[in-house]
Symmetry: C2
Amino acid sequence: MSPAALAFDLGGTELRGALVEAGGQIAVHRSVQTRAADGPQAVIGQIVEMGAALLAGQPAGSVLGIGIGAPGPLDPQAGMVIAAPMLAGWTDVPLAEILRGSLGLPVRLENDANAAALAEWRFGAGRGVRSMVFATVSTGIGGGVIADGRLLHGRRGLAAEIGHMTITESGERCFCGNVGCFEAVASGTALGRRATTLTGPGDGSLLRRLSGGGDVTARHVFEAARTGDAQALRLVETEAHWLGVGLANLLHLYSPDVIVVGGGLSNGFELLAPGLRSTIGQRAMAAFRDVPVVAAQLGDKAGLIGAASLVFESDQ
Amino acid sequence: MSPAALAFDLGGTELRGALVEAGGQIAVHRSVQTRAADGPQAVIGQIVEMGAALLAGQPAGSVLGIGIGAPGPLDPQAGMVIAAPMLAGWTDVPLAEILRGSLGLPVRLENDANAAALAEWRFGAGRGVRSMVFATVSTGIGGGVIADGRLLHGRRGLAAEIGHMTITESGERCFCGNVGCFEAVASGTALGRRATTLTGPGDGSLLRRLSGGGDVTARHVFEAARTGDAQALRLVETEAHWLGVGLANLLHLYSPDVIVVGGGLSNGFELLAPGLRSTIGQRAMAAFRDVPVVAAQLGDKAGLIGAASLVFESDQ
């Protein structure tokens, strides 16, 4: 194997680790359920154990360093997780320093959305551009921005919190306390909520049949829309509208060469694309209208590959 | 005089030129009314004439180059004015190349808001920070962003078109065709329009007395607010709310160390500041709430000083 990086993708439900080669290929891959409720020490124990297992048997010097993507807000410069809503007790945890001590390799830490953005830029849908916006649309909406050839960090590495940009006065209250956040109206959660409100258990709708009568999710909406279900198609249209309003803002703010959409909602990208293009066509100034908006290519491997690329590109 | 730059600030109403020293001091300064209606050739003739006059008598080699700030959208890399709404007939004008030919010096071209941002960063309210957002709030709202130690450009240099970020569904239609643009609800024009609508000619209001019965402007609102006029104070409150919603977005998107507010509305900054802080306190995530929001320091000289700094810092 060529020189590799030890990469981790630390999520609230799953911890993944891998050895990743410089070309972005994942050589060995592991995952466990994150012991999120048990506090930082338990989770760090899981990371160290997985790391040791992945490093076992690798020739000395063949693994250049450790890259780790974790939930923000975090400070990549300081290697510090500032707070992680999905992980109990993670406040100002000097994760990079701890792992360096335990695993004996240099460590780079990055916000998970930034890591995924790096991966899509280097190896995925954003290859070859100078400026890129990566929007990951799932439960919430996160972002990572490549600005003029490098990752945009800003103060404390907190740039590109795109989910909490206000775009409207309508919609449900966001978990952050505001009304009108991009995330509150355009996330997968928002789409599922609208679908659940629109229908009722036992109402005979395709959406409720697909959900077994329970809450409808974005996945059910896409499944129903693909069969031509009128309710689902209208929900997709509304979703594409809100997503388009937010993405049009990002065009004006960052002027990327391309917008890459990842996360769970990118599974329905082909359904959303016409509405997205139409909203952007209406709302973006002329100079921004021809910027491509495309689906991410690396799926749920983006986090790991991006974490590895932190090791290979020390200027990021 | 120490080595200097020949700087221009090309506006729709006024063309300014100056010799500026490396420390940001303006040594010689001129201005004329821009012959905006007469097309690019006439205006370029004005620039060349003013440049030749400013250069006359300077020792050879003492002026290092030309920096020019002009209305966007423009492409700084190509030295090209793409379109300038306030200047008739300016479409794809290779301004940098033309001036280099006529004046015999290297030329750097930059969007005027970016030039002013550079000036505030180097010599004004943003000295010493790594990341800064400059918002210029006047007739419209423009922006310039310093991201991790350099000017943010993006594709074709079009980043930071902050005025056309959608933040609401209310307010008047923006000149760009949309509803809810930051500029449409928070510019000086929007403030003046609200004041004009709220009052009527001859209604005895202080605002209409200050405006001589005609349309009320932002300046009249600030003047009345300073005397404690209740109508004006409410207008200031509404203005601070909208400005705060937009600036809170910019905190999440760029994570600057400081936001610098320039343009005509910064003349009422001390009136707007409490409302701004309160809106940002409500709408920004905790990690962003302590970022200072301050008034610009260089006033209408920022454009010239920033244009000059393009010459002194060739990496921008």
